[in-house]
Subunit: 112 residues, 2 copies
DNA sequence: TCTGAATGCATAAGTATACGATGTATTAGT
DNA sequence: ACTAATACATCGTATACTTATGCATTCAGA
C-alpha cells in the first residue's frame, strides 16, 4: 500500500483508463480489478469511488446502465464519446507527468 | 502545466529529493529550480511551498540556517539525518508507484 | 439455521493538501 | 519613479480522499 497522498489526483485517470479498455464495468468490479492488477498496492475505497463516478457522469464523461442480478442492483458505467476522448487525454497527461517526475527525481523505471 | 490534482501528494517528495542532492536550498531557489528542471511544467506556488517546508521542519526532517544577503533574509533548508533516510524512502516509494501506474495505465515511458 | 463475509449501492463528516490572494520588504533594472 | 524580481509568510477556499456509517442481498460455513 502506498501512502495515501500519492494516489490523490490519479483516481479519475484510473477509472477512465479501465473503462476505456474493458468496456462497461460496475463499481464493485472496478475496486476488485484495480486491487488485482496492482497486487493490492492500490485499493480504491468506496467512499472515494462512488462520488468520483457520479462526478464523471455529471460531467458527461460516463453513461450508466442499471441491471438487476436477482434482487441486487448493479450499475454499469461506460465511457461516452466525450469520455473516450477525455480518457486518452488524461492518460497522456499522466504519462507526460511521469516522465517529468522521473527526470526530476532521477528515477530509473523498470523496462517491463 | 499539469492539472493541479496530479501534483498533489508529490510536493514533499520533490522537496526531499532536491535537498538530498543539492545540499541546502532556500524557498525561492526551490521554486525556480523546479520550474527550470521541468520546463515550467511544474510550478510550486508559495502558498504550498512554505507551509510544507515548515511541516517538514516540524517533523524533524529539515534543519534551517538563516542568512542575510544585504538586508534581505534568506532561509536555507537542509536535510537532517532523519530527513536523508526519509528522502530515500519517499523517492523509492514514488518509483514503485510509477511502475504500478505504468502497468495499470499501459504506458510506455521514454527511455531517456 | 443462523451468522458472518462478500457483494453492491450510497452518503456524510473529517482531514489533508494545494491554490489563489494578499501582505511586507529589499533590490535591480528602465 | 516605477516595475519586476527576489524572498519571506499567512489566510481563506476548493478539492479530493479517508473513515465511518447505512441499507440490502447473497453465499458459505458452523
Amino acid at each position: 500500500m502506498y501512502s495515501s497522498e500519492l494516489i490523490k489526483g490519479t483516481l479519475k485517470t484510473i477509472l477512465l483508463k479501465l473503462l476505456n479498455e474493458g468496456n462497461r464495468m460496475y463499481g464493485y468490479e472496478i475496486t476488485q480489478k484495480v486491487k488485482e492488477l496492482t497486487n493490492d498496492k492500490i485499493q480504491i475505497t468506496e467512499g472515494a469511488l462512488y462520488p468520483t463516478l457520479h462526478a464523471l457522469e455529471a460531467d458527461g464523461l460516463l453513461e450508466t446502465e442499471t441491471e438487476y442480478i436477482g434482487k441486487r442492483v448493479r450499475k454499469y458505467y461506460k465511457l461516452s464519446t466525450k469520455g473516450k476522448v477525455h480518457s486518452k487525454e488524461k492518460v497522456n497527461e499522466f504519462a507526460d507527468y511521469m516522465n517529468t517526475m522521473k527526470f526530476l527525481l532521477g528515477i530509473e523505471t523498470g523496462t517491463a
